[in-house]
């Protein structure tokens, strides 16, 4: 069921996820489109998430924005609910941080990532090049996750409860928690049209799923649901984003993930398993959550004969 409406306030609104926001020329959504979008969200009972560009909005926009309950995803900390950062930098904040970086940056700067984790209540690391992972990268990622895990464990032992999506989300979940594009969330672009997610808008503006005038028209809507995803519905890497956009880019189908997405998510899942095990050595930890089981595959596709 739809729950969220993401509104891109400007053509240059920050990316908060796997995709790049390629537009360079500032162009705000029109006030009228914004108002209509808010109205649509209210009528459909959707929680609104505004995605901001990197400049201050005019006052008349602020007023309209505040006319409904919402959250703000911003590339600067001021007045944000989620802060998006595109490089590794020192941070001290009381809001969740999304850190968008490539694999090499992560592999080279794990210590700095740990420092950022200490400076924010939650750190969401979003890898911007999942589809390029090679076997060597998988090995490197596994090592990085193990090193990060040791740091997170230390913090837990100190009585803190750091949240690092790559490692702690899986421990806290009891079912799939994917991005939900096209199923639980849709995006309104500055042109007044709806898209599965911002990435679909930037890829091809013609690829819309309706507009404010005619309403939503999501063709083959079922394919965005977990139950229609043959590989993912057999999977327990519950923290995986199951990126619909990367699915389409790599396999041509929105419901089918690439090998790379699956292996990356399983390395995280397995690292979470280790972490859960290690923290539990120090005492009771999340007793309501089952132990994450040991499995012998990194890509559910490889064991499809057993489904």
């Amino acid at each position: 069921m739809l729950q969220y409406l993401i509104i891109l306030l400007d053509e240059t609104s920050t990316s908060f996820c796997h995709y790049e926001a390629p537009k360079k020329e500032r162009k705000l959504i029109s006030l009228d489109t914004l108002r209509q979008g808010i109205r649509f969200g209210m009528m459909e009972n959707l929680m609104i998430q505004y995605v901001y560009p990197d400049y201050e909005l005019p006052d008349e926009y602020k007023e309209v924005i505040e006319s409904i309950d919402h959250s703000k995803i911003k590339p600067m900390a001021e007045d944000a609910d989620v802060l998006v950062m595109n490089k590794i930098e020192a941070v001290q904040t009381d809001i969740p941080v999304v850190l968008r970086i490539g694999k090499q940056e992560l592999f080279a700067h794990q210590k700095e990532v740990v420092a950022m984790l200490k400076g924010a209540p939650r750190l969401n690391v979003v890898l911007t090049d999942v589809e390029t992972f090679t076997d060597e990268d998988f090995d490197a990622y596994k090592k990085v996750l193990a090193a990060l895990s040791a740091e997170v464990e230390k913090l837990y032992v100190e009585g803190k409860s750091p949240q690092l999506n790559l490692l702690t989300d899986r421990m806290m979940l009891s079912q799939m928690n994917n991005c939900g594009a096209g199923d639980t969330s849709i995006t309104l672009a500055p042109n007044g049209k709806f898209y599965v997610c911002p990435a679909f808008y930037y890829d091809d503006e013609a690829d819309s799923i309706g507009d404010l005038e005619q309403g939503l028209d999501i063709k083959n809507k079922q394919l965005y649901k977990l139950s229609y995803a043959p590989i993912c519905r057999h999977c327990d890497a519950w923290q995986c984003k199951r990126c619909i956009w990367l699915n389409r880019k790599t396999t041509l189908e929105v419901n089918t993930p690439s090998h790379e997405q699956c292996v990356v998510a399983h390395l995280e899942r397995n690292a979470s398993r280790e972490l859960q095990h290690n923290i539990r050595k120090h005492g009771t930890f999340l007793p309501e959550h089952e132990e994450i089981k040991e499995i012998d595959y990194l890509d559910p596709f490889d064991v499809r004969e057993d489904w």
Binding site: N220, P230, L252, E253, V254, H259, E260, F301
Partner: protein
């Protein structure tokens, strides 16, 4: 063996255990059949030898990715025999290379053709057949009676019917391949000719007729009724004429028209993705129906090429596709679902989005009509066998049928 064994369709060679690799050697054909799904046929795109060679080197060089026990090297067009020189060269190279590399397919291969039969008798084609006789399957397409055949299968420019030119080659073909089968495709205009066509093909000495309705949305109001009547007449013709002992027609199958279990019977129907097609430019497709010249309204689905190899991510949707995920609820709940076929390529072509996960159901009413006629066929046949005291004997000897759809 009893006189009363009933002939059902033969199983395709090494079915299930074999990889099907198709070379689209040409997009040209002498004919312009009215139902031909190849919307982009042309005389320009012929496969160069260098492309064929590189494709073979890639495939045989990646033995680990092609673990099937056997291989069917398939040649299609257009009309494949227009490129007999190239095909001969490809086959020689394949044989040499499979031997040289000690490849596990060396003793388990077949060359397969679907031809319009027009130049079957020509010397070059005959020389090729002689050379590869023990490893060949050749299907000649003949649609039935002269009238029916010439309704669709006409020459490109003159629009003259091709029946006579094909029929004269049938005796030679059957002499060389006595168990050969023919494939017939039915669309709306062909319905009134079904019975006489199948019986005509039997009379030519063809013992196996694989016949199916096109998957495209071509059906008119009332076609299902007409279809049902034709099939009932055909059933009478086959049973009353005693053809069931020695001839097969894929329209009638005991496995047809039953509900399907959501979990146990959830396999995909078509083999797209388990096959591989290569075009003249060296692109790989999950099946020929995904190449540009076969598609009406969608972009081709290219899963790699001879230089960069196969992009395995693009195969994942095909290899995990199951029946229920692509079917509307109506098909999942259908009481007569078994045997209702689909073509992944047509599903993709007809879908509302660029997906192979939306089953096209244009064929629904035709399938239901087929099921009713099929029930009639088996009830009539079993009663006859019982009255003649041959039912038990038949039950003992019957073979599993094999639906052939593409």
């Amino acid at each position: 063996m009893s006189d009363y064994t009933i002939r059902e369709q033969s199983n395709t060679w090494q079915e299930g255990a074999s990889k099907n690799i198709t070379f689209i050697v040409t997009k040209d054909c002498q004919l312009a059949c009215k139902y031909c799904y190849l919307v982009g046929k042309n005389a320009k795109e012929r496969m160069p030898w260098s492309v064929a060679k590189e494709a073979i080197d890639y495939i045989l060089g990646h033995e680990g990715d092609f673990r099937e026990e056997a291989v069917i090297w398939d040649f299609i067009g257009g009309e494949p025999f227009l490129e007999i020189d190239l095909i001969d060269k490809i086959c020689d190279y394949l044989k040499n290379e499979m031997f040289r590399r000690n490849h596990h397919w060396f003793n388990s291969y077949r060359f397969s053709f679907s031809t319009n039969g027009i130049n079957y008798h020509e010397e070059k084609v005959q020389r090729y057949i002689e050379k590869n006789r023990n490893h060949l399957s050749i299907g000649v397409t003949i649609d039935g009676t002269e009238l029916k055949h010439d309704l669709n299968r006409v020459y490109k420019h003159s629009e003259r019917g091709s029946y006579k030119d094909v029929a004269r080659n049938i005796p030679l073909w059957l002499q060389q391949f006595p168990n050969a089968a023919t494939k017939v495709t039915i669309s709306s205009a062909d319905i009134p000719y079904i019975k006489e066509s199948v019986l005509h093909l039997y009379s030519l000495g063809i013992h196996e007729v694989n016949i199916n309705c096109v998957f495209e949305d071509v059906w008119n109001e009332g076609d299902d009724k007409l279809f049902e009547e034709q099939l009932m007449q055909l059933a009478d013709g086959i049973i009353d004429g005693g053809y069931y002992t020695d001839y097969a027609c894929s329209f009638f199958s005991e496995y047809l028209g039953k509900p399907l279990d959501i979990e146990r019977e959830n396999q995909n129907w078509c083999g797209a993705g388990k096959m591989l097609s290569i075009d003249a430019a060296g692109n790989f497709y999950p099946c020929t129906r995904f190449a540009a010249y076969s598609l009406r309204s969608k972009k081709p689905v290219i899963i790699g090429n001879i230089h960069d190899g196969i992009d395995k991510n693009k195969l994942r949707p095909f290899l995990t596709l199951d029946r229920t995920t692509q079917s509307p609820q109506e098909c999942i709940d259908c009481e007569v679902a078994s045997g209702c076929a689909w073509c992944q390529g047509e599903n993709y072509d007809a879908a509302d989005t660029n997906t192979i996960y939306q089953r096209a159901t244009a064929i629904c009413k035709m399938h239901k009509a087929r099921v009713r006629a099929n029930n009639y066929y088996w009830n009539k046949l079993y009663r006859k066998l019982e009255l003649e005291g041959q039912r038990e004997e038949f039950e003992k000897n019957k073979k599993k049928s094999n639906d052939v759809i593409c």
